[in-house]
């Protein structure tokens, strides 16, 4: 990666070099292993790394900020509880965390109460918030948007739509079929084909020398 090309290529290679440099620092995996041994200090550090993901995912799935906060709290305590089961040789901490967080959020949103609440919230979210909150939200949005676009760019429009409904909205594939007015078999296939592409895209990024 010793490129000397300026501009956009230059920015990219700097960024990658920096990431490679980070590998030496304690990773989420290290923290989670320590948490699994009952290390509360490590948990506080892990919290700072994973709470934005846990909360953000809950917020995407359940919409309601208050319910999302409850779900995030439950999830984070659950992560503490189950941490002794984490084995870094068998998977990355962030995937482990994501599985727990998504399952929790989906369980919550499938209760009728949450479905009602989130419909109300879509409407109320459109009204303004305070300046500081708005900027915080914008920062996070701008930051994540590029990565989301990157990871979803490989999908066709119909695959993206199906994955978004299933993953970010917590819908079953039958609901996805109904919402998109397509046969259930098609919904099933779109989700699967989309995930295959995402998986392959992920491994080609992660596996680059």
């Amino acid at each position: 990666m010793g490129t000397t090309s300026p501009g956009i290529d230059g920015v990219k290679s700097r960024r990658r070099l920096q990431l490679v440099g980070d590998v030496a620092a304690p990773s989420n995996d290290d923290f989670l292993v320590r948490v699994g041994r009952g290390d509360r200090e490590a948990f506080a550090m892990l919290y700072d790394q994973i709470a934005p993901v846990v909360y953000g995912l809950a917020r995407r799935v359940v919409r309601d900020a208050q319910i999302a906060e409850d779900v995030a709290q439950e999830t984070l305590v659950e992560i503490w509880r189950q941490a002794p089961r984490f084995d870094p040789s068998k998977g990355r901490a962030m995937s482990w965390v994501a599985v727990i967080a998504h399952r929790r959020a989906v369980d919550r949103v499938r209760s009728e109460q949450s479905h009602r609440n989130r419909d109300v919230l879509v409407a109320s979210e459109r009204h303004g918030s305070s300046n500081g909150d708005e900027i915080s939200a914008a920062i996070v949005r701008e930051d994540t948007r590029i990565e989301v676009a990157d990871s979803l760019a490989c999908l066709t429009d119909v695959q993206r739509e199906a994955i978004q409904l299933a993953f970010y909205d917590g819908r079953t594939y039958s609901e996805v079929a109904e919402l998109l007015d397509i046969p259930v078999g098609t919904a099933k296939t779109r989700i699967r084909d989309g995930l295959i592409k995402l998986r392959d895209a992920t491994s080609s990024i992660g596996g680059a020398p």
Binding site: G91, R92, G132, T202, I205
Partner: protein, 220 residues
């Protein structure tokens, strides 16, 4: 309710990975997983994609959450490493771990390091924006506009370049701070449509009206 026949049960690996099966189907599929290694491989691969999708949704948690969680954790016992009984609603997740544990996926190391790096940046940005002395100012120039939030308490500034025209190919923007009449270039390249964080650059006494950004050749 859609009952998959024997022929298409393999197609459910994707829906299973994103928790898009109802309880009955999920149970049937888990049973199928015990006998089908290709579906186990699929689910394992999909879980890493799921990690990426989840990380992409990162958002600043409410300020009070940290203290609440830490306090709750103080009063919560961890599970033993080998546990045979568990509450019903954790069934999916735990079955999932079992599947996930079948193959290690080291290829994703770089990606998740990137995520963890991003999240620590996120915390730094959050502390600036949420600081009691945080102030935001808007800079307008020929290329568009940017917003800068800065805090002396946190000794940093956060730049939001969401109103900036794309830099020409091969070029990036730079941000210059003027401190006591001396221009200093920020170490952080300014990406369009991105927010960046710059530590040790507050210059609150001078005001950001003196800041400028311009196109450069991107060399450092």
């Amino acid at each position: 309710v859609n009952m998959p026949g024997r022929d298409d049960i393999h197609l459910l690996a994707g829906a299973y990975a994103v928790n898009a099966l109802d309880d009955l189907e999920a149970r049937r599929f888990e049973q199928h997983l015990t006998a089908c290694s290709s579906c186990r491989d699929d689910v394992t691969g999909f879980v890493t994609a799921l990690g990426t999708l989840a990380a992409s949704a990162a958002e600043l948690p409410p300020r009070g959450l940290r203290a609440t969680v830490i306090q709750a954790v103080d009063q919560t016992r961890q599970t033993a490493t080998s546990v045979s009984k568990r509450p019903h609603n954790q069934r999916h997740t735990l079955a999932f771990f079992a599947v996930f544990s079948i193959a290690a996926c080291t290829a994703f190391a770089v990606l998740f390091v990137s995520q963890s790096h991003k999240n620590s940046q996120l915390s730094a940005k959050a502390s600036v924006v949420e600081a009691a002395d945080a102030r935001t100012t808007q800079l307008v120039g020929g290329a568009g506009q940017i917003r800068v939030t800065y805090s002396s308490q946190e000794n940093g500034s956060v730049l939001l370049a969401d109103g900036l025209a794309s830099a020409p190919a091969g070029q990036v923007y730079e941000l210059w701070f003027i401190s006591n009449g001396t221009p200093q270039r920020s170490d952080v390249p300014v990406r369009c449509n991105a927010a960046c964080f710059d530590s040790h650059r507050t210059r609150t006494g001078l005001g950001f009206g003196a800041c400028d950004y311009r196109r450069t050749d991107g060399r450092k």
